[in-house]
Structure formats: structure tokens, C-alpha cells
């Protein structure tokens, strides 16, 4: 399976709130970050959680965000960052 996004590309996490087992944390939904690594295909956890085979596998990405962009009143330093592993079905072009 070829990955849709490349290292360095900006990506936006879908602002979706589906029911069920989802491994995309709420605090990055709707936020824009940058791909730092394409980790390869991993079986879809949203399917695996219900005893299915998780196929087709999804490309998994490491996405880095500026922490101050994630929280309105972030009190840390402006250069602080947060890296989250996100499956491709949650990412779109910004």
C-alpha cells in the first residue's frame, strides 16, 4: 500500500467524532500538523477492536504539532511540540 502523504507534508486531522473504538486522540482532531515519519502499514485498530482482521492495513504516520496550536491557553514555551501516531484514514490535505 502506498502512503498518501510524505515526510514534511502538512496534514489535517479530520474533525470527526464517530462512535466506537478510535485511536485518534480528541485533542488533535481538526488540528494541522506535519508528517515526520511514515511508519508503514498497520492493521486498522478500529476494526481489530471488534474481532475483525483489520484489513486493509492503513499507513501509519508520526505527525508533529505545535503544542500551542493544540490548546487555546497553553502555558508552556512557544517552541514545545507534540507528536502523535495517526492512521491515514484520519488525515486529509489541509
Amino acid at each position: 500500500m502506498s502512503a498518501r502523504f510524505a515526510v514534511g507534508e502538512s496534514v489535517k486531522v479530520r474533525a470527526a467524532f464517530p462512535p466506537g473504538h478510535v485511536r485518534t486522540p480528541f485533542f488533535v482532531r481538526g488540528k494541522t500538523g506535519r508528517v515526520t515519519e511514515v511508519l508503514g502499514p498497520y492493521r486498522n485498530p478500529e476494526e481489530l477492536a471488534y474481532g475483525r482482521d483489520g484489513e486493509p492495513a492503513l499507513p501509519l504516520y508520526r505527525v508533529i504539532f505545535e503544542t500551542a496550536e493544540l490548546w487555546d491557553d497553553y502555558r508552556g514555551a512557544p517552541k514545545d511540540t507534540t507528536v502523535v501516531d495517526i492512521y491515514e484514514n484520519w488525515l486529509e490535505a489541509p
Partner: protein
């Protein structure tokens, strides 16, 4: 209530019940504890493995500590080529030291002068157990999981780790298929130390990223 302690039956006042630690059996089992026990019993009954094998496996998992991770970090400090291989692929690098890091891919994230890394799993408690042992209770707490992404510098300060604003605090939320460990920076003042001595400085908490390695002067 007045008591007449001269009276030989003066102990008729009601005693406050003494607080006691509940027995294990008095703590209700959760659904998954019951299921785990049932599946374990069934597998033993069916002869998939023996009770002794099951016991030994639990014992082996419980016995995991930070020692393997510390040995890898110390070797990485001593050998830059190994460090590069470890940053590339922790599981493979572990094999070089006869350490079994397991089948789940583990990444090491390196602390540098400008970046301090800290690991959290906001969704559950993912953790590289084979390299740094069982996670501490606080790692699994909702407070650590929610606050480390929300206010990492305050959380670090509570662990005694205060970082200047020109150091980037980089929080890694390991919510998916990989596990993460921090490769701390080698403390100054350890030039010429052998790996065994270096490994003594590498604590579990500094591989989670909530602290720095022990000071060589301590």
C-alpha cells in the same frame, strides 16, 4: 457521653470500627479480570500450556525491569555507531546486546541540548515493558495521561524537572502500534566511565522522560 471508668463495666461505649485493609477477595473482580482467569484456566485444561508454564511466564513478565533499557542507553552513550543503529531500530539494536525487545516496534527518541522528550499514552498505557519493566501506576493514571499533553512543563516540574523555555518539550503520545522510550543525554562528568557505571545513572523515569539521568556526583 460521660464514662465512669471506675466502674468495672466501664467499657460499654461503642468502639469505632478499626479501619482495615480489605482482603483481595473483597475487591470485586472486573469483567476482564474474570475473563483473563477463565481463558487462562481453559487453556491449561485444554493442554495448550501447563499451569507451570503460565506461572513462569507471569513471573518472567513481572521480573522485567529497567535494566535492559539502561544497558542499551549506556551502550549508546559509549558507542555512537550503536546509538545510530538504536535510533534507527531499537528492536534490532537490542539483539546485538542479547536483549529481547519483543515483536512490537520500539522507537528511541533522543534528548539533545535543544529538545527534551517525554512519553505518554493518552488513550491507555502503552509502554515498552520488555526494556523498562512494568509501567508505574502513575503512568497509567488519568491525571498523568491527560496533563502530560495539556501542561507538560507543570507535570515535569512535579517530578523535579524544570526546563528552560529555550528547550523544546516534545511530548510523544504513543496511541498506536509503536512504543517509545527516551534516550537521555549522557550526563557531563562521566568521561571515561565504563558502561556498567553509566547504566547505573539510567533510571526508569529518565527513559519515560519525566526526569534526567542521575547526576554522576550524587
Amino acid at each position: 457521653m460521660a464514662h465512669d471508668h471506675d466502674h468495672e463495666h466501664g467499657h460499654d461505649h461503642s468502639h469505632q470500627p478499626h479501619p482495615f485493609q480489605p482482603d483481595l477477595e473483597e475487591t470485586p473482580l472486573t469483567h476482564y479480570q474474570v475473563m483473563t482467569q477463565a481463558v487462562g484456566d481453559l487453556l491449561v485444561e485444554k493442554g495448550v500450556f501447563s499451569a507451570e508454564e503460565l506461572r513462569a511466564m507471569v513471573e518472567a513478565i513481572d521480573a522485567k525491569s529497567q535494566a535492559a533499557g539502561a544497558r542499551m542507553v549506556a551502550h549508546a552513550w559509549a558507542d555512537p555507531a550503536f546509538k545510530a543503529r538504536m535510533l534507527e531500530d531499537v528492536n534490532k539494536a537490542a539483539e546485538e546486546l542479547d536483549i529481547d525487545a519483543g515483536g512490537i516496534p520500539i522507537r528511541a527518541v533522543e534528548n539533545t541540548e535543544g529538545v527534551h522528550n517525554v512519553i505518554v499514552c493518552t488513550l491507555c498505557s502503552c509502554y515498552p515493558r520488555l526494556l523498562i519493566g512494568l509501567p508505574p501506576d502513575w503512568y497509567k493514571s488519568r491525571s498523568y495521561r491527560s496533563r502530560t499533553v495539556r501542561e507538560p512543563r507543570q507535570v515535569l516540574a512535579e517530578f523535579g524537572t524544570t526546563l528552560p523555555d529555550d528547550v523544546e518539550v516534545r511530548v510523544h503520545d504513543s496511541t498506536a502500534d509503536l512504543r517509545y522510550m527516551v534516550l537521555p543525554a549522557r550526563p557531563a562528568g562521566t568521561e571515561g566511565w565504563d558502561e556498567e557505571a553509566l547504566a547505573e545513572l539510567v533510571t526508569r523515569d529518565c527513559m519515560i522522560g519525566v526526569t534526567l539521568p542521575k547526576s554522576p556526583n550524587a
